[in-house]
């Protein structure tokens, strides 16, 4: 892991690229572990508290490993009025987890997201990089079964 982080740090040397460095780490490791933060801090001289300041400010960053699939439920305006919130609540209940948590079997991480820009197809969920539009609770159930 440390090698990956060192390599990324080699590629981004100017100070304005802290967000890019962290994004790159997350792209490689799936999340930003504590060891990576320490390494970045040591190599760049930016204090860990500043780095955690960035990590916790932006919703994209994760401090814990994600599940095999990341399930994002859109809670933008259109999705909200078309029933997105009900789907989110249903999944929380079904998996027995909260927002941004991972199922016990490590299969799904559930997160809410504020608008995927697919409002014309609301309500929408996204599994990894693929978007599924005009869904409802029973369609979501079938979708999840396909991934199991």
């Amino acid at each position: 892991m440390i090698e990956v982080v060192s390599e990324i740090l080699e590629n981004y040397k100017d100070s304005g690229s802290l967000i890019k460095i962290l994004q790159e780490i997350q792209n490689n490791l799936g999340y930003v572990p504590k060891e990576a933060v320490d390494e970045v801090s040591m190599k760049t001289g930016i204090s860990p508290s500043q780095i955690y300041g960035i990590l916790t400010f932006y919703s994209q960053f994760r401090l814990t490993p994600p599940g095999k699939y990341t399930l994002k439920v859109c809670l933008g305006t259109a999705c909200h009025i078309m029933g997105g919130h009900e789907i989110f609540e249903h999944l929380k209940r079904k998996f027995g987890i909260m927002d941004n948590e991972t199922t016990e079997d490590g299969l799904f991480t559930l997160t809410k997201v504020r608008c995927l820009g697919c409002c014309g197809m609301a309500p929408v969920i996204m599994v990894d990089d693929k978007i599924y539009g005009r869904i409802d609770i029973s369609k979501t159930e079938r979708l999840i079964d396909d991934f199991k």
Binding site: G16, Q23, L75, T77, A78, I81, R114, G120, G133
Partner: protein, 586 residues
């Protein structure tokens, strides 16, 4: 048979409906029939009609025919009958709703979306691409460029509506160097998706607009700040930037002149407040995206403390066309104070959802019942629209003859904003909608100034209290006072406008607040705490939709019988309420 063109829509919506499978099937089928060499198969961006996979076939015998809802299994028939034999396959051709959707539009920004392959610069060049940049660099002085933009009356399309030409002029007048051009592609407003479609469907128009802006203000460096939630837009921007560099439209000594302009792509990391320009700058600099007080404005002190202009995607995409056709031409479209066209993202409880580009000054009613096609479900009545995202407000049905432009909506308490337009019908609870926006803005508040950090949280608490049936009349008054204080005292646009959804719903739908508080009833049947989950047999048509929708098998129903909810099994997920077209579940 020769020169048949086949276009398959490959935007986010097309892809989610299976466009890549359809494309693959076309490839296979054309290959199988030995037609690959005589056909051109094109992946286009989104046309903005959000239903299913659209395919266009242009055949010398038939002209252009649009097909909709195309599945891979239909492809062999289309190839056999249309591509090979020049026969229109009527049963799959686009329906009247599709024609209506495009009939009332005037497309300037969107005109190439869904028409060209955004991953191949040749298509853009064939359609007059980079001609405006060439004209600017070889025939115009920077001042003349600014003059032309001022003449066009173009105002920022991101929400604030500041005149673009004046912004450029202010920045040009600054002596400090270097200067920067930033394209704000952090389309954070929930309900707006025009920037995504432009970036996915016609990315070069944005790059060309940026280079022209760079020349006008005297800058050699541009940044695109694109949100991470748009992976396809980022991918296509990367391709477009590298192709434009290869062809010498971006980079050193562009088109043999001494003007150089480089464009870098920065990915956002998920923070709504970064749509605010000073927060966006902080984020590009690698810091937490927190706004700072203005002045100094970014045109004076922006990125790295240097003069910077920040323009929205749609604004920049308008620029090349204005240069080519002239400011006067652009100014002839729209109203006196709001020139040109605007793209609206139509979504919610309306029949046709998608992107609609119309001249400014079009009324809400024209938009909803023209391209929009009226309510989504026949039994329901459109009662309001919500426009301008979390900063905007709602406008009730009796004001639907208001023209949509920068100024008219302000009088009604809303703003045009970036153009997200959500249609609400009688099954939408306005109190819950206000609560939704407050939960959004209080979540996304950066926490720097306390009116926003605490004020919005407090407002949200009151709204939660009302939707859960514990509200008191005095809460409404408290809510109003608090809303006004937050508006007056918050630091940036996020906090200053966040109370708008509450204030407009209070202004136009106070009766719904009162029903929640006094009668402990939600008129739209949406607030779970106030619902009984019982079937109203007077309204029930015995159709069984609720039975099919229930994930817990908590509804008993048989053909010709009223449905019945077993309370012990019911988890109050509202799937039945969403499914019922007759509002028969209380």
């Amino acid at each position: 048979m020769s020169d048949v063109k086949i276009m398959v829509c490959h935007g986010t919506s097309g892809l989610s409906a299976g466009a890549s499978e359809v494309y693959k099937k076309f490839e296979e089928e054309l290959d199988r029939q030995g037609l690959l060499d005589s056909c051109e198969l094109i992946k286009t961006g989104d046309r903005g009609y959000f239903r299913d996979v659209l395919v266009d076939i242009i055949h010398p015998d038939t002209g252009r025919v649009t097909y909709q809802n195309i599945k891979p299994k239909i492809v062999p028939e289309l190839v056999e009958r249309h591509v090979k034999n020049g026969e229109i396959v009527k049963k799959y051709s686009a329906k009247k709703a599709y024609q209506d959707f495009f009939a009332g539009q005037k497309r300037i920004v969107l005109r190439r979306c869904g028409e060209i392959d955004p991953e191949n610069i040749e298509f853009y060049l064939k359609d007059g691409g980079y001609k405006a940049l060439e004209r600017v660099l070889t025939q115009m002085r920077p001042e003349e460029v600014i003059e032309e933009i001022k003449k066009s009356g173009l105002r920022g399309r991101g929400g604030a509506g500041f005149p673009t030409g004046i912004k450029w002029e202010l920045c040009r007048a600054q002596k400090a160097q270097p200067k920067y051009v930033i394209c704000n592609a952090d389309e954070g407003d929930p309900g707006a998706f025009m920037d995504r479609s432009v970036l996915e469907g016609d990315p070069h128009a944005v790059l060309e607009g940026m280079a022209i802006a760079g020349y006008a203000i005297g800058s050699n460096e541009g940044y695109i700040y694109c949100r991470a939630e748009y992976p396809l837009a980022i991918k296509r921007l990367k391709i477009a930037i590298s192709q434009a560099k290869e062809r010498g439209f971006i980079g050193e000594d562009i088109l043999g002149t001494d003007f150089s302009f480089d464009i870098k792509l920065t990915e956002g990391a998920g923070a709504f407040v970064c749509g605010e320009e000073t927060a966006l700058i902080a984020s590009i600099e690698g810091k937490r995206g927190m706004p700072r007080p203005r002045p100094p404005y970014p045109a004076q002190k922006g990125l790295w403390g240097k003069p910077t202009i920040i323009n929205n995607v749609e604004t920049l995409a308008n620029v090349p066309t204005i240069i080519l056709k002239g400011g006067e031409w652009y100014a002839s479209i729209g109203t006196e104070k709001s020139k040109g066209t605007k793209v609206f993202a139509l979504a919610g409880k309306v029949r046709n959802t998608g992107l609609v580009e119309v001249p400014l000054g079009t009324t809400i009613r024209e938009l909803l019942y023209g391209p929009g096609g009226g309510p989504a479900k026949k039994m329901r009545k459109i009662k309001a629209i919500q426009i301008g995202g979390p900063s905007g407000g709602c406008i009730p049905e009796n004001l639907f003859d208001t023209p949509i432009d920068f100024d008219s909506l302000v009088g009604a308490g809303a703003i045009m904003g970036s153009g997200g337009l959500i249609v609400l019908d009688d099954s939408t609870c306005m109190v819950d909608l206000a609560r939704f926006f407050l939960s959004f803005t209080s979540d996304e508040s950066c926490g720097k100034c306390f009116p926003c950090r605490l004020g919005l949280k407090k407002m949200l608490e009151i709204l939660n209290k009302i939707v859960s049936g514990n509200g008191e009349l005095k809460d409404v008054e408290y809510l109003e006072n608090l809303a006004k204080s937050v508006m007056d005292t918050a630091l940036c646009g996020l906090g200053k406008t966040a109370p708008n959804p509450v204030l407009t719903t209070l202004k136009y739908f106070r009766d719904e607040y009162e029903a929640h508080i006094l009668e402990k009833r939600c008129p739209a049947n949406q607030c779970v705490a106030l619902l009984k989950f019982e079937i109203d047999e007077e309204k029930c048509t015995k159709c069984g939709s609720c039975f099919k929708a229930c994930p817990e098998n908590a509804i008993i129903w048989e053909k010709g019988e009223y449905a019945k909810i077993i309370k012990e099994k019911c988890i109050k997920c509202k799937a039945c309420i969403e499914a019922c077209d007759f509002m028969a579940i209380e």
